[in-house]
């Protein structure tokens, strides 16, 4: 699905990713954990194509294509989805119109026909139920006046609508109460399939009780410093990140 080799990226003068390697196969769920500031969101942003970051080395192959050469919207249309850590508000733009345009672009790219208004609405109904998103929210402006939990659920709803090949969830769990966490996890689990992969970025192992990963990585100071199974997450929970910091040092 995605192969990241020796990826280096900086913002301004500051190098943040310092040679990162990661391979995610179709159908796999990889969790990336790590202390604050270690570069998790940077990795997500670089993969999604944010221009603020300069890629200074390495390569990324996504479904056989050179990801780093593609414009951000092409990456999205090719099936890369990022659930943002901090989803932005777009006042005055209805969630419906926004999604209709997005789904339209993605379908066009895949060579599929545009959905009729009726089919689109049916899809909205089905997918919003998945994350128990109030029908009202779907009709409001994108994220405007949404609570933190509603924003995160809206991200998962959009993911479900766009049916990506690879979804990167950046701390989708942070700030959620246990019910919201369960709902978000349920949305993700419903989308698991042998053709779809996930990179779940999280600070806490709690989420991984609900979304069970195949592989767990620890990202620290711009590199993957440890890779293991689900047990690694439990170990981190128990020992804290200081333990990693010591082993790396």
């Amino acid at each position: 699905m995605i192969e990241i080799k020796d990826l280096k990226a900086s913002i301004g003068e500051k190098e943040i990713l310092k040679g990162l390697n990661l391979v995610v196969k179709p159908g796999e769920i990889h969790a990336i954990m790590g202390p604050n500031g270690s570069g998790k969101s940077t990795l997500a942003s670089v993969l999604a194509g944010r221009e603020d970051y300069e890629v200074t080395g390495g390569e990324v192959v996504f479904n056989g294509k050179n990801l780093l050469e593609m414009a951000p919207e092409e990456r999205a249309r090719e099936g890369l989805f990022l659930a943002f850590q901090y989803p932005v508000e777009i006042p005055g733009v209805s969630n419906m119109n926004f999604l209709k345009a997005a789904v339209g672009e993605v379908r066009k790219h895949r060579g599929e026909e545009a959905l009729s208004a009726k089919d689109f609405l049916a899809l909205v109904k089905e997918k919003s139920a998945l994350v128990e998103l109030d029908g009202q929210l779907a009709h409001r402006a994108v994220n405007e006046g949404f609570s933190g939990g509603e924003k995160k659920r809206n991200e998962v709803f959009q993911m479900a609508m766009l049916e990506p090949k690879l979804a990167i969830l950046d701390e989708t769990d942070s700030g959620l109460d246990i019910d919201a966490l369960r709902i978000v996890a349920q949305g993700v689990n419903a989308m698991r399939s042998p053709e779809r992969s996930f990179i779940v970025i999280t600070h806490y192992q709690r989420l991984l009780d609900y979304i069970v990963p195949d592989v767990v990585h620890v990202l620290y100071k711009g590199r993957i410093v440890k890779t293991g199974t689900k047990e690694l997450a439990l170990e981190l929970e128990e020992k804290g990140y200081d333990w990693i910091k010591e082993t790396v040092a």
């Binding site: 999604a48 194509g49 944010r50 603020d52 414009a71 951000p72 919207e73 990456r75 999205a76 249309r77 989805f81 990022l82 943002f84 989803p87 932005v88 777009i90 006042p91 005055g92 733009v93 119109n97 926004f98 999604l99 345009a101 997005a102 672009e105 993605v106 790219h109 402006a141 959009q158 766009l162």
Partner: protein, 477 residues
């Protein structure tokens, strides 16, 4: 994006040299010229006198300099003040039209027939707009609605014109209003009789070909008691004109319980991307809410012109009368806009609402200037104003000049203002969902301007949305 900019910059090289069939009088302005204009139009003597008086007033005035705009002042003696109505360039087919202009029209969704009509090419289809316009006129006549050119009105409905001309915008009002009063040759007249609800949007669109759009346009619209009219001025298609200076006057009168909705889309040639050329649009628009419970609502989408100077205003004289102003003004490249409104509260319990959305891109400057004046007689008057500015670039400017004068302590006046820069985060969010940059900007900007766009008649609103997007293409930075 730069390539697009280049093309857009070139866009108007094509122009006005092609077969202009016009009957012009020599350049210059003096009493004699005004007599010639009046005679050519076969006007009654009261109107000639009225014009001459305006000319005297104008001679004693200075060109205003208070607006936040910079430009080289027009040479008024270099302008020809009369040319026969059909002075638009003539083309034989759409192939002769500037391809960029056609592209814009295509993207606005303007049909081939319409494109032909707008460019003065004969349309010979069954569904041609001339026949639409004819049936439209018949229907209006049945209801007693008068909708014609101001010149025709002077001939056919002289008493009405004489009674109202200059009553809302007096000749002494300002430099350009005085000039317009002296030399206007074109414009629209509309009268809605008592109790009549005009069943369709009255659009100058239907008149464009008949008379062309004048350099000194004069519009007079009267809504008699308990009548209603929605009036559309301009069109979203880009409009070129050989005249650099446009100084129109629009006067509206709403009598007891009458309502006038006046919507404008202004898309005159804005000049090239380096700030050369473009139309100077110096307009005086004012409505008088004369009667009890009368209402006047101005909605404008301003994307064109090099320099715009325009304040559609309401005089709220009747008790319980209502004035509204909804505006989206976009400036790009080196365009300058100084626009806003004046709400003058005279009657009791009068209400006014001002929603202004400025969008500045490139090196442009966009100013809101608004006056809310509550006179001592205006007991329980209310105003709400909201002025938002959106900056697309670091090199563009947004300015707000609100003036509030309250002379009655029972008044409630609220003013809110915000300035924000278009969010890189918002754009990236859209890109990440598969939209391209153009779509992203279009969505964000239209979302921002939604409150105003919602006030436009449906068929106009869709085109206006596209227009905003096209005006701002490649403008984020």
């Amino acid at each position: 994006m730069e390539i697009l900019d280049e093309i857009t910059g070139k866009d108007y090289e094509f122009g006005f040299t092609t077969n202009i069939e016009s009957e012009k009088i020599p350049a210059g302005l003096n009493e004699e010229i005004i007599r010639v204009i009046s005679a050519k139009k076969n006007e009654p003597s009261w109107l000639l006198d009225w014009r001459l008086e305006a000319f005297k007033i104008w001679q004693g005035m200075n060109e205003p300099e208070w607006a936040h705009v910079h430009y080289t002042k027009p040479d008024f003696q270099a302008i020809s003040y009369y040319s026969a109505p059909k002075s638009k360039p003539k083309y034989n087919s759409l192939d002769e039209i500037d391809p960029e202009m056609r592209k814009t029209m295509d993207r606005l969704g303007i049909s081939m027939d319409e494109q032909k009509r707008l460019n003065g090419i004969a349309v010979d289809f069954v569904m041609d707009s001339v026949s639409v316009a004819t049936s439209f006129k018949e229907k209006l006549a049945e209801l007693g609605i008068i909708f014609c050119s101001i010149s025709e009105a002077v001939q056919e409905h002289g008493d009405l014109v004489r009674k109202y001309l200059g009553t809302v915008v007096p000749r002494t009002d300002n430099f350009y209003a005085a000039l317009n009063s002296a030399v206007f040759t074109d414009g629209s007249f509309c009268y809605i009789p008592k109790g009549v609800r005009c069943p369709m949007e009255l659009s100058t669109y239907f008149r464009i070909n008949e008379a062309g759009t004048g350099q000194f346009e004069r519009t007079l619209l009267i809504a008699d008691e308990e009548s209603y009219v929605s009036y559309l001025e301009g069109c979203t298609a880009p409009q070129r004109d050989e005249n650099q200076l446009h100084a129109a006057v629009v006067e509206l009168v709403a009598m007891e319980k009458a309502e006038i909705k006046y919507s404008t889309v202004q898309n005159w040639y804005p000049g090239d991307k380096d700030g050369n050329g473009g139309v100077f649009n110096f307009v005086t628009k004012r409505g008088l809410c004369d009667g009890y419970k009368s209402k006047i609502s101005w909605t404008q989408v301003e994307t064109g012109s090099a320099v715009t100077w325009k304040y559609p205003s309401c005089i709220l004289k009747g008790d319980y009368s209502v004035g509204e102003f909804y505006s989206v003004a976009v400036t790009n490249h080196f365009q300058q806009a100084d626009t806003g409104t004046k709400m003058i509260h005279i009657g009791r319990n009068t209400h006014s609402t001002i929603i202004s959305k400025g969008i500045s891109a490139g090196h442009s400057n966009n100013s809101y200037r608004g006056l809310v004046q509550i006179n001592s007689s205006a007991k329980n008057a209310r105003n709400f104003s909201q002025c938002d500015s959106l900056l697309m670039t670091d090199t563009s400017g947004a300015h707000t000049f609100p003036y509030i004068e309250v002379n009655n302590s029972s008044a409630q006046v609220e003013h809110e203002a915000t300035t924000s820069k278009i969010g890189e985060d918002q754009i990236f969010y859209c890109l990440q969902r598969g939209l391209d940059e153009e779509q992203a900007i279009s969505m964000i900007v239209n979302g921002y301007a939604k409150e105003v766009l919602n006030k436009l008649p449906m068929e106009f609103a869709v085109e206006a949305q596209k227009l905003l997007a096209i005006s701002l293409e490649g403008s984020v930075g």
